[in-house]
């Protein structure tokens, strides 16, 4: 790994501390909306207010960019379109856990709406 890659890697690792808590909070809030409220009009009161809507959108998009950045950096360092898990672990070392936690948040965010609606029905919270 060259020096430039190392700077990017450390930068992504540092940004995680700001991005991840915000993204997790957002995912929890969105999941509860999908479970109990309108799954296609998420956080309408917040999102329709530009003061809140834009920061929320920035956190959401930045989290995606973070994960894409992690992938691209690993792919570039390992010179492979599909780097192995071992390669991720070797490259990111202690920061590997950060990637796993972010991935879990993404899996939750991208679970099918049907599952959330089923959960909502089971919890009797569907409005």
């Amino acid at each position: 790994m060259n020096e430039q890659h190392d700077v990017i890697r450390r930068g992504l690792g540092a940004i995680w501390w700001i991005l991840f808590p915000c993204f997790v909070l957002l995912v929890i809030r969105l999941s509860s909306e999908r479970t109990c409220s309108d799954p296609y009009d998420l956080l309408p009161a917040l999102a329709s207010n530009p003061l809140w809507g834009w920061p929320i959108a920035i956190v959401y998009v930045a989290s995606h960019l973070w994960l894409i950045g992690v992938y691209l950096l690993t792919a570039s360092c390992s010179d492979s379109l599909a780097p192995s898990r071992a390669r991720f672990r070797n490259l990111w070392q202690t920061d590997y856990m950060k990637i796993l936690l972010m991935l879990i948040a993404f899996v939750v965010e991208y679970l099918p709406v049907t599952l959330w609606r089923l959960l909502g029905t089971a919890l009797h919270c569907v409005r």
């Binding site: 959401y60 995606h64 379109l81």
Partner: protein, 541 residues
């Protein structure tokens, strides 16, 4: 095509057309299973050759399909989308000297937040060739097709003819993912043309002339939509990297000049009014479900950048500062548009103007590829999954588009409207009932009388922005500004409801407006498609 196939495609469209990444991953998983399953039997010996053949054939088919569909749409007088008719109408009103952006409290309710060039282009074409719907649609098709030619020329900057043809074909395939948005009457075809022309001139090697033309095309882009500058970031990054800051400043100066020209030159294009409408539109916030969809589309459309990078051996990969700057600018621009296009009513189609830029960078990546040296082994299956995804979604989108248009083309509302207008003195306008498809031919009458009072898509947007119909509009209705309203047969006049989630099902026209309309008008007859409501003014109190 049988109803069963069409039904299947429509079900697929509803379920998957908005989830390209998910679909691509699913198809990739299936392909990898096939590869693993056939590894021992060697049914498919060379996935790279298979991918090359499939991609080339698909691209060539798309290169035939795209112009065919665009020309076919342009040659029929019906619109697909309810927001299309306003473009030629306002274009024509501009041509006859009426305001492009009426005041916020004006009786006329047709203001949209597109920049003036989006309407002026139609105004010029209609003024030159005559006011017909076909001229307006031909403009969209011409712009879409011309942008494809520029995209081919952009690819030719880096790769040989055969590869450039395939890349232009892939661009056509990706354009078909967005149904007819790249050749309709709204600003997207003009944006495509402006961005591809701007990039083409920026990539010219001759002096400062390229910078001047590139800046002029960028100016059109800046003017068409408020998000225009985001699309030009990669163009300007290229100019700066290859020709230095002087070329960049020259291009930016021309862009500012061209973008501000309509406001400075034409009396009926008001900068304060445009700003007022823009400010109002900015107050609507974002839709998070649209944001996620935009992100998925942006990721999917950028997949070819990664694939083409790894398609060549490491030693042949681009690493120049110019390449890095253009790529960084593209990421910045795409990110900005992804967020800005999350406003209610927007969506992934705002990413369309990035396609020529993506094709240009893909060609750049493939510049030093060699048939003897192979790239990453994973490129072939992922490329196949990408193209198959595009084919599935494009098929579903176009099937829905063609089916709807075939049904619309059986109607003859235009003749019906013209016959009625020929036989009656006074101003005739097409109004709205509870549905909208029979109101799509309203440009015919706007061209005839040079007037346009109510644009339902604009009113829908205004309501979302918290702006109700002003008293001036109700007054214009009661004072018989329009003598005859043609309302779709059997429908209550002006009974449409808003489809935006924030104001879902709210009546588009307030009770007071409808009460005044019914007091001032009565049905005096019917035509084949419309009830005729004649204005006789409000009764004396």
């Amino acid at each position: 095509m049988s109803d069963v196939v069409l039904g299947g495609l429509e079900a697929f469209r509803i379920r998957f057309a908005g989830r390209p990444v998910l679909l691509c991953l699913g198809i990739l998983a299936v392909l990898l299973l096939i590869r693993r399953g056939t590894a021992s039997s060697r049914i498919v010996r060379d996935w790279s050759t298979l991918a090359t053949v499939v991609i080339s054939v698909t691209a060539l088919v798309a290169l035939i399909a795209y112009p065919s569909v665009a020309v076919w749409y342009a040659s029929h007088p019906h619109f697909f989308d309810n927001a299309e008719p306003v473009m030629p109408i306002v274009g024509w009103l501009f041509h006859v000297g009426k305001p492009v952006y009426p005041a916020i409290d004006a009786a006329e309710r047709y203001a949209h937040i597109y920049g003036p060039f989006a309407f002026i282009a139609h105004g010029w074409a209609l003024g030159l060739l005559g006011p017909t719907i076909l001229v307006s649609k031909a403009l969209g098709a011409f712009a879409g097709l011309a942008s494809l030619v520029f995209t081919y020329l952009l690819a030719r900057r880096h790769v040989e003819q055969s590869v450039a043809v395939v890349l232009a074909g892939l661009c056509a395939l990706l354009l078909l993912l967005f149904r007819h948005y790249s050749f309709w009457t709204r600003p997207e075809p003009l944006q495509l043309l402006a961005v591809s022309a701007s990039l083409y001139f920026a990539s010219m090697s001759s002096g400062y002339l390229g910078a001047v033309f590139s800046g002029a095309a960028a100016g059109v882009l800046w003017n068409l939509k408020i998000t225009g500058p985001m699309y030009t970031l990669p163009v300007f990054a290229l100019l700066y990297s290859r020709r230095g800051w002087k070329a960049l400043v020259l291009a930016a100066a021309f862009a500012v000049g061209v973008a501000s020209f309509p406001f400075a030159y034409y009396d009926n294009v008001s900068w304060p009014q445009y700003l007022a409408w823009l400010r109002l539109s900015g107050s609507t916030g974002l839709l998070l479900s649209t944001l996620r969809q935009n992100l998925e589309w942006a990721i999917y459309l950028c997949v070819p950048l990664v694939l083409s990078y790894y398609a060549v051996p490491q030693s042949a990969r681009s690493r120049s500062p110019a390449w890095r700057n253009v790529l960084a600018a593209l990421v910045l621009g795409v990110t900005g548009v992804v967020i800005a296009a999350s406003k209610p009513g927007a969506g992934p189609y705002h990413l369309i103007p990035f396609l020529p830029i993506i094709v240009f960078i893909v060609a750049w990546h493939l510049e030093r590829r060699s048939p003897r040296a192979t790239g990453d082994l994973h490129v072939a299956p992922v490329s196949l999954a990408f193209v198959i995804t595009a084919v599935f979604i494009a098929d579903a989108q176009e099937a829905q588009f063609l089916t709807t248009m075939r049904q619309r083309d059986q109607l003859r509302e235009s003749d019906d409207i013209t016959q009625f207008a020929d036989a009656h003195a006074g101003v005739v306008a097409v109004g709205y009932g509870s549905t909208e498809s029979l109101s799509l031919q309203r440009p015919v009458l706007a061209f005839r009388y040079n007037t346009y009072l109510l644009d339902q898509p604009a009113i829908r947007e205004h309501q979302l922005q918290g702006l109700d119909l002003p008293a001036a509009t109700t007054r214009a209705i009661s004072e018989c500004r329009v003598n005859y309203w043609l309302i779709p047969r059997g429908e209550d006049p002006f009974s449409g409801r808003n489809s935006y989630s924030a104001v879902l099902l709210r009546p588009l026209f307030p009770d007071e407006f409808r009460r005044v309309f019914e007091q001032a008008h009565s049905i005096v007859g019917t035509t084949t498609y419309y009830d005729v409501w004649q204005c006789h003014g409000l009764p004396d109190r």
